[in-house]
Each structure stands twice: as C-alpha cells, then as structure tokens.
C-alpha cells in the first residue's frame, strides 16, 4: 500500500512533530532517519507520493538524493534553514518541488504538502490546458482566462505563464524560467524575467502592487499560486 508522505529527518523531535501534524489531517506517512533508509523506503512497497526532506542528514548530503527521489516520481519538499538560499536553489534545480524554511509553521507546511499531493493526483486531463487559482491557460486557443475574463498576453508573457502553470504552487527558479521561456543562452538575464513578470502581473493580477497570483521567492524564483494553497 502506498503512503502519502515520507519524512526524512534525523531529528526524532521534528519527526514526531511532523507525524503529529500529518496524523491530525489524516495523511499516511513513513519515516526515515538517514538518506540510505529514505532511498530504501522510497523504492519499497510503501512508496510515498511526497517526501519531506531535511538536507542535513547524518550519512549523506540531502541534496545528493534529490535527483534519485525525483526520478522515482516523488514530489520533494525540502526543509532548510532560512539563510540557505543557494541550497534551496540547488535543490529546486535538481528536481525538488518546493521548500519550507525552518522553523516552519505547521499549517503552511501542511498546505504545501496538500498542494504537492494535488499536483501528483491531478492527472493531466488535457496536455494543452492548465488551471491555477482564479484562472486557466489554454495553449491550443492561445487563451488566458482570469476569473472568467479573457486576457490578452504577448507571446512571451504567454510562454511565461504557461511555464509557471505547469505545476502551480511549485517554485520555478529564475534559471529554469529563463531557460524555458528565453532559451539557455539567456539563463543569466534576470532583467528579462523581471520585466516580463511585471507586465504579466499588470495583466492578470487584480492589483499589480499586491500580487496574489505570481509570487516571488526572493533570490530563488517565482511560483504561481496553487488552488487554495495560500488560503490563510
């Protein structure tokens, strides 16, 4: 039987807390205290949909197992310290879905877990149509609907929103967005991204100075708000 969440952390106190939080919302879970154990469990019969991964593991650097877990189709949420920006970017670039900064708010953590689970469960019905909170984007019709209203986007803005909406709620690093939308030659041209995000926000946000759809993670990247993920 598959489980919902694999908790990978060497601190028993943190594990117990996470277990308690998951239990309260009725999510099933398994626990690993090391990278080796995590890989074994992930490949085992109880293979999880989401992994909560603490990068500071006793036997190996948590970053090392990110690609392996991602390759198994597991959505990875990394638990990191606040100042570990580079670590976050690396984890995301290696295939992690999201990150939660320690010390974390259990409500926020659970929201992220649910969001990840939804992404996993929400099988792609139509490969040319994606939905996100308050809107949808249709590649075939080249149409964007925000709260029922059609919005005209430039091709670049469209590509950007398409990339962000691939998996709403998931953080896309600057590099990934630049490579996807502008091509690998422009992976360092952050200004392109900033300008495009700003004009995109003006078109799809209710108030561009208080964005609620295209969210920024300073120093890391952008994420598109997931359905009800930012409910609080």
């Amino acid at each position: 039987m598959h489980s919902d969440v694999l908790i990978i952390d060497d601190e028993p106190a943190i594990r117990r807390l996470l277990v308690g939080a998951l239990d309260r919302v009725g999510l099933s879970h398994i626990e690993a205290a090391s990278a080796g154990e995590a890989l074994r469990l992930a490949a085992g019969p109880q293979a999880p949909a989401v992994a909560l991964l603490d990068l500071g593991l006793p036997d190996r650097d948590g970053l090392e197992i990110v690609p392996q877990l991602a390759a198994m189709g597991i959505a990875i949420i990394v638990l990191t310290a606040r100042d570990a920006t580079e670590e976050k970017v690396t984890a995301l670039d290696l295939g992690a879905d999201d990150f939660v900064t320690k010390p974390f708010d259990s409500a926020e953590l659970l929201a992220r877990v649910r969001s990840a689970l939804r992404r996993k469960a929400g099988a792609i019905v139509d490969p040319l149509r994606r939905e996100f909170e308050g809107g949808s984007i249709d590649r075939a019709k080249h149409a964007v609907l925000i709260e029922g209203t059609r919005v005209a986007l430039t091709p670049r803005e469209f590509e950007l929103l398409w990339a962000l909406s691939e998996r709403p709620g998931r953080v896309m690093t600057h590099t990934v967005l630049l490579e996807t939308v502008w091509g690998p030659a422009h992976r360092g041209d952050l200004d392109y991204l900033r300008v495009a995000i700003r004009s995109l926000r003006k078109k799809i946000e209710r108030d561009a100075s208080h964005p609620r759809l295209v969210m920024n993670e300073p120093g890391i990247g952008y994420r598109l708000a997931n359905l009800s993920s930012q409910s609080d």
Binding site: E11, A13, R24, V195, K202, A208, S209, N216, P218
Partner: protein
C-alpha cells in the same frame, strides 16, 4: 608647494619638520679674538630679555673686563659643574642643568672649547648640538680659525694651527652674526690693553695681530658669513617650496688618501661642495699597494674618512689597482661633475716611474672638472710595506743558482757555449717569480758572478774580459727586477682579492647564520659569537625592553654599568655610534652601534677590546658596517615573524569563534524548530489560550534573536558578500509582508507601492532582511490597533522604501540609534536583541544604499531606506517604466 606624496618631497618635508622642532643656533662670528663677540652676544641677550625671552647664561667669558661683566648683571647665570681631573677641579658648562632648566635662549660662549676629560662630550660644540636637538635655542661665539674647513687655510698664512676645531655642519642651519672690527681698530684695542690674551698663548696669538693677517682673517670671516646667509636663504626657499634641487645637479667626489695630506684635500672638497651646494662623496680606492700600508697610516686614513663624514660627505670604498681609472669610473657612476684629488710635490723622475694619479684622472675624466689640491707635505714615499725577503729566501735563491751551475758543469760538453747564459736565466726567473724581488736580485747577482767565474775566460776568476759579460750581467739583473716586480704585483693583487673574497665569504656566512635563527636570545648569541670572532673583540647586544636595558649574546657580560648604559641610550636615541673611541661618552668601555631597522632602533651592538688598542681596527670598519646591518636585519626579521605569528593566532581565534558561533546557532536552531512547530500545533483556545499565545510569541522572538546573532557575527567577520542581481522592490515588499503574516494576527502591515518603481541592482535577501528588521522594530513600538505602513516610492533615480509607525517616535538625540545594542526607550519592554537596526544599517550599506531615521508627521517614527535604481548596463534589456 610641497607634495608629501612624492618620495623626494616627503624626505624634504620630514627634514623641515625635524628642523622645526630643533632649537635655533645663533653664532657670533669674529675674525680674531678681541673683536667683541661676547660683548655683542650679551648686549643682544639683554635686549631679548627685555622683550620677555627667558634668557639664561650657560657660559660667558668676561675675560676680566668690567663692561662685559656689567652686561651679565641682569641675566640669570647657570652654575657650572665641577669636574675633578687629575686633582684639578675644572669648571665646565653644566649641560644637564641647562637641559633641566630649558630656557628660551641660552648663551654658551666659546663654541670651540674642549671640555675637561670625563665630561659627557669631549667638545663644547657637542653640548650645543645636544641642546639644539633638545629644542633649546642657543647663542654662542666663535673665531673664524676654529672652523674645521678653514683650519688649513688659516694655518697656511698665520702659521698658527689651532687644534680646537668645530665641524662646519653645526653652522648649517645657524644664524651667523658677524662681529666685525677693522684691523686697525682691533690693533688699537690690543695696544690699549683691551684685548685679553692668556699669557701662554700671548706670543703665538700676537702673531695674528699684524694688519695683513687680520685683513685676511676678516675677509675670510666676511666670506663665510655671506656664504652662510646664502645657504640660509636657500633653506628658506626650500621650505617655501620655491627651490627644491641642488643647483644644476652638481655632485662632487673626492679621493681620500692616507697620510696627513688627506685632510686638506677633504677640507677643500667640503668648501667646494658648499659653494656649489653639491652633495659630495669621499672615496677610498683600496689598491693592492694601499692595502700594504702600515698600521699608523691606516689609522690616518680612517681619521681622514671620519673627517669627511663629519663634514657631511658620504663615504665609499672601492677596491681597484689603478687609482686614477677607478676614481674616474666611480665619478661616472655617481654622476659627479667635480673630482677633487690631492697631489704631492714629487720629482719628475718619481712621476715618470710611478705615474701620477692626477695626470691619469685629468686624462680620463670626461665632462667632469678636476680639482687638484697641491699638498705642502714633503714627497711622501709610497708607503708600502717593503717586500723584505728573508735571509732564507735569499739563500734559497743562491742555492738555486748553485744547483744550476752544478748541472751545467755536468752537461757542459753538450751545451753550446752561447746558451750557458740563457740557462743561467732559469734560476733567476724562478727565484724572481716564486720568491721575492730581492731574492731574485740575489739570484741574478749569483748567476752573473758564477757565469763570470766558471764559464768565461779566464776561468775561475772574476776578471771581466769582454763587454759582452757586462751585458750578460745587466740583462740578468734587469730580468730579475722586471719579473720580480711583476710577480710581486700579481701576488699583491691576489692577496687583495683574497682579502676581499675572505671578507665577502665571512659576510655571506654571517648572513646565512643570521637567517636561520629564531628568538632574540639565539640571534644575539650567534651574532656576538660571530662578530667577536671575525673582528677579534668582545661583542654584546643591548636592547631596551620596558625601559630596562637587557644585555644578550655574551655570558661573560651579563650587565653593563651606568656609564655604559648612558652611552647605549645615547646610541639608540641619536642613532650614532657612541662610547669608546667615539666623540660622545667615550668614558664607556663599550662602543655601541645602534641596530637601525625600518621598525625603529632594535637596540645596539656593543663592542669592546680588552687591550688599549682601538676597538675598531681601521681595516675592519667596512666589515663592521655590514655586520651591524646584518644583525639589525636579523632582529627586524624576528620581530616581524613574531608579529606574523600573533596575527596568525588572532586569525585562528577569529576562525574558532566563528565556527563556535555557527555550531551553537545550528544546535540551538534544531530544538527551536521543534518548539515553534509544537507551539504552532497547539490550538489557541480553551483555558490555556493566553499561555499558548505567549509561548508562540516568545519562541518566535527567540528565533529572531538567534538570527540576529548570526547576522551580527557575519557582519563582524566581514563576510557579507552581496549576491548582486536585478531586484524588483515590489517583490521584496510583498514577500516581507507574507513572512510577517506567519507571526500571527498582531503583524499588521499596510503597504503602498509605486508599482512603476524601477528595479534596483542589489541583493534581494539582504534587502528583505532589512525590511523585516525595520518592520519588526516598528511593530514593537506601535500601539495596539495601529498598523505599520510600508511604502515604496521612486524619485530622482532612487528607490525609497519607508517604514512608518504611530508609536512614541524617536527621541531628540538619535545618536547611536544604528549602533549595536542600542535600545530605544521602552525597547526593553517590547524586547529585542538590540541588533536589528545595526544589522539593517550594515546590510543597506553593503548594497550601496543609505538608511535614515526621523519622526513622522503626526507622531511616530519613520525609517527610510534609499537605494540607487539600476542604471546603465543593467537597463540594457529594455527596462521600461510604462
């Protein structure tokens, strides 16, 4: 004007600064005794006293004249110190009393006076020099014939040589006041009995008082005074920056030779150098024959060099055989425009034989003017150690001839008669090359006689039968002389270069030894052992540590006595060799050489010799200078190494502290994470709602506190390295608001954003941290229910982010607001690390922004962060404000 950044100017600047600290010297110069120098000095002193200057009389000789004595009346006279010398109590000028009194001006009569043995300085001018250096103004008197560089000239026409001379350098920055009296008037005064002359000197000095000599002396005094005025003028020009170089870049070089002839040449060079305002160098050419000169002449050479040094020359020694060529070569290297050499009166025959250095210099010197100073001294023989061959060498020479003769006898039937004299040349050549010149001559004589006796008819007589025999005799003698002379020269050259090689080898060995040592004790011990061994004397190294003298390097001399210590201190304070055989404090048993380094004086090398001989043999002076330098360098290296180790230790300590902080922070953070997560999980309701709220708030606070500590340590270690990127301030503001919402409903922030604000080029995380700290701070002071306003504006090329609250506002005195652990009034109550604003300020400054604080209209505090918006290259990618 002076630009202290250029090397040359910096040097001049230093010199001027030094001059400004020194006392001023006023010299009353007279052509002869009796012109009224002391009188004039006392008159001037009375005037200065009336002007309010603190005038004190150190020494004034009234020579029993009541007019002069009357002038002393109003002045304070220092008591003399009494020095006991061989049972006589001698009054001397009390320099210590003068230094202790520190008057505005002190009168010290008779600059050329010699102090009683046992005084601090042998000469009064040294006392005066010390007063000047100590910053005391001095007035003094002197007669023209006592001035070192004029000594010869005066002696030349007065036939009275004055032994008490004063080096010219003391007049370098002095104000000269010429006390002039026409010769006739002076003679009148003398005849009227107004000039006091000590009885013993009466007759000799009376020789001065002829109108002709007095006129000559007066002219010299006038010239000297005029020249001195000229130089003072150029000093002032230099200070005002209007003139900075020597006139036309003149440079003078003088060849210093041994013998009494050397001194006048040096003095002449000094006068010439002064007239030309030229720096000058005294060169000793160490030729093979010069190395062979006798000890007393070596000492004279050293004296001549010392004279040159005291007159301001720089010294140099060159090893070469051709004196003329070496001198010209040296002149070229130093770019000297003037060459000064002495020339003895020698017979034409002598010059034809030995060649004249002067002639050769004149022939070779291209572009340089050559000054030849004729020397009065009788023709000095080339003072080389005559190569005296020993009796045994002579016998060996004769024996060589005898053996040759014997062999010739045996082989005679096979040798053509004409070759016999040729064969006899062999022992002569061997003796001349292998032995000394005289042995060669002995061989020549023996060979000639043997030839005559054994091989010419009539045999077995010394009867000379044909002119051919005389020719043979002559040829043998000439061969012996020529070959012997050549061989001797070659041998001497070999000795010279061997000597130089030995010196260099010793120095190299010494340098090698010094390089590998660690610790002052070891360095001192090895340095003293080596220097002692090389120069055949006792050496110690004395240093000043915590104002205590420490003696190192020689177990036999653990400490030094009071006299030695005075000499040592003088040496290190004044940077000159002091003590035995020097001009200062020579009652000490030791001669102290200061160990000067770029870090200051590292102490002194003390040298002593148990015998009465000079401490430094003239031949050793050059080597000693190198040894002192090497020793100083070794000490400097040890100090530098010590400092480097200290710095390393500090770095290590810093590193450890950083690591410790990091690990503590990490260890604290993990349990804190658990605490926060646990308190967040507890629902805020029921009986314990308030307690849960407190636990939540306090654990969040603890977390912020921990973060602040970590950031502070990063700032302190200078490891803040912004990750520069294009930043949209809108993103930063919204993410800050989002972050703060996690803290609960009490985080009430309202934002107003100019969404057209251009991007800034900055570090997003540092900026976010700044805003979080500022908003946190504002929340602490905000009354319940009033929100904190976070505003983003753009104006005049800058993004302006403001954090405003409605709290009590900032006090009038905002000094130290952004300092560490500064707490505002009431801050303690709301809590905080006291680091928040300090961190904010450091971060803002790290990204090139500014942070300001003030009070808000209508109450409350306002903090503003101003950042330059991205310009130039950063906007290349089509940034638009539309």
């Amino acid at each position: 004007m002076i630009d202290p950044t250029s090397d040359r100017d910096a040097e001049r600047f230093l010199r001027i600064a030094k001059m400004a600290e020194r006392g001023r010297l006023t010299v009353y110069l007279g052509a002869a005794p009796g012109v009224g120098k002391t009188f004039r000095m006392l008159q001037d002193a009375a005037r200065r006293l009336a002007e309010g200057v603190d005038v004190v009389v150190g020494v004034a000789e009234t020579h029993g004249r009541s007019e002069t004595a009357a002038l002393l009346e109003p002045l304070e006279v220092l008591s003399r110190c009494v020095i006991d010398h061989a049972g006589h109590a001698l009054d001397e000028f009390d320099i210590d009393a003068a230094l202790a009194r520190r008057p505005g001006l002190i009168l010290v009569d008779e600059l050329a006076h010699s102090n009683a043995p046992g005084s601090r300085h042998p000469k009064r001018w040294q006392d005066v020099a010390e007063l000047i250096v100590a910053g005391v103004n001095v007035a003094t008197t002197i007669n023209i014939q006592h001035i070192e560089s004029l000594n010869d000239v005066v002696a030349g026409f007065t036939h009275v040589r004055v032994r008490e001379t004063v080096p010219d350098s003391i007049f370098d920055h002095a104000e000269l006041i010429l006390v002039d009296l026409p010769p006739e008037a002076l003679i009148e005064r003398l005849e009227a009995g107004k000039v006091y002359l000590p009885e013993t000197a009466e007759r000799a000095l009376a020789n001065f008082f002829t109108p002709l000599k007095l006129a000559a002396l007066r002219e010299m005094a006038l010239r000297f005074a005029a020249h001195s005025v000229d130089r003072r003028l150029s000093d002032e020009l230099e200070i005002s920056g209007e003139k900075s170089d020597f006139v036309a870049g003149e440079r003078l070089i003088v060849a210093v030779s041994a013998g009494r002839g050397g001194a006048p040449v040096v003095r002449h060079a000094k006068r010439l150098a002064d007239l030309l305002h030229a720096p000058w160098t005294a060169v000793v050419i160490e030729s093979a024959s010069a190395r062979a000169v006798r000890g007393s002449q070596r000492e004279q050479l050293a004296d001549n060099l010392a004279l040159a040094a005291s007159l301001g020359a720089s010294l140099m020694t060159v090893a070469a055989d051709d004196i003329g060529a070496a001198l010209v070569d040296q002149a070229r290297q130093l770019r000297a425009s003037q060459i000064v050499i002495g020339k003895s009166r020698r017979t034409r025959w002598f010059e034809w034989r030995h060649g004249s250095v002067a002639q050769s210099v004149i022939r070779k010197a291209r572009g340089a003017a050559v000054h030849v100073v004729p020397l009065d001294e009788a023709d000095e023989k080339p003072d080389k150690r005559r190569e005296v061959s020993t009796v045994s060498e002579n016998s060996v020479a004769v024996l060589l001839v005898a053996i040759t003769v014997g062999i010739l006898h045996l082989v005679r039937p096979w040798i053509p008669p004409g070759a016999i004299d040729l064969v006899l040349l062999l022992p002569v050549i061997i003796a001349a090359t292998r032995l000394r010149l005289r042995a060669g001559l002995w061989a020549a004589m023996a060979a000639a006689l043997s030839y005559n006796f054994f091989f010419t008819e009539p045999y077995h007589t010394l009867f000379i039968h044909s002119p051919a025999q005389i020719v043979t005799f002559a040829v043998l003698a000439v061969v012996a002389i020529v070959i012997g002379g050549l061989a001797g020269k070659v041998r001497r050259q070999a000795e010279t270069s061997a000597g130089v090689a030995r010196l260099n080898a010793s120095l190299a060995r010494f340098a090698g030894l010094m390089g590998g040592l660690s610790g002052r004790d070891e360095t001192a011990r090895v340095a003293c052992r080596e220097i002692g061994g090389l120069l055949d004397l006792e050496a110690i190294i004395v240093s000043l540590e915590d104002n205590r003298t420490v003696v190192r390097g020689n177990d036999a001399y653990g400490r030094i006595d009071v006299v030695d210590e005075a000499a040592f201190r003088w040496a290190i304070e004044n940077g000159v060799a002091t003590g035995r055989d020097t001009g200062t404090l020579n009652a000490s048993d030791w001669q102290f050489h200061p160990l000067k380094t770029s870090l200051g004086t590292m102490g002194a090398l003390g040298l002593a010799r148990p015998s009465q001989e000079r401490v430094i043999r003239p031949d050793d002076a050059v080597m000693l200078a190198s040894l002192v330098d090497q020793t100083a360098l070794a000490h400097e290296r040890i100090v530098l190494e010590g400092q480097a180790r200290q710095v390393d230790a500090l770095h290590e300590r810093d590193r450890l502290r950083g690591a410790l902080l990091g690990s503590i922070a990490h260890d604290l953070r993990t349990p804190l994470t658990a605490v926060i997560a646990a308190t967040e999980a507890i629902p805020v309701d029921g009986d314990y709602a308030e307690e849960v709220r407190i636990a939540r708030a306090e654990s969040r606070r603890l977390q912020r506190f921990l973060n602040d500590l970590l950031e502070a340590s990063r700032i302190e270690h200078g490891t803040i390295e912004p990750r520069w990127e294009s930043v949209d301030m809108t993103d930063i503001v919204t993410s800050v608001v989002r972050d703060l919402r996690q803290d609960g409903p009490e985080a009430r922030v309202s934002t107003r954003i100019d969404s057209d604000c251009p991007f800034v080029f900055s570090d997003p995380l540092l900026l976010r941290h700044v805003l979080i700290n500022l908003v946190d701070n504002a929340l602490k002071f905000s009354p319940a229910g009033s929100p904190v306003d976070l505003e983003l504006d753009y104006s005049e090329g800058r993004a302006l982010c403001r954090v405003l609250d409605r709290g009590p506002g900032l006090p009038e005195d905002m000094e130290g607001l952004f300092e560490r652990f500064h707490r505002l009034e009431g801050g303690d109550r709301v809590g905080g690390s006291g680091l928040g604003l300090w961190i904010a300020k450091n971060f803002v400054e790290a990204v090139g922004g500014t942070i300001t604080a003030g009070n808000r209209e209508g109450g409350g505090a306002a903090f503003a962060v101003s950042l330059p918006v991205a310009t130039g290259q950063e906007t290349d990618h089509g940034l638009s404000h539309a």
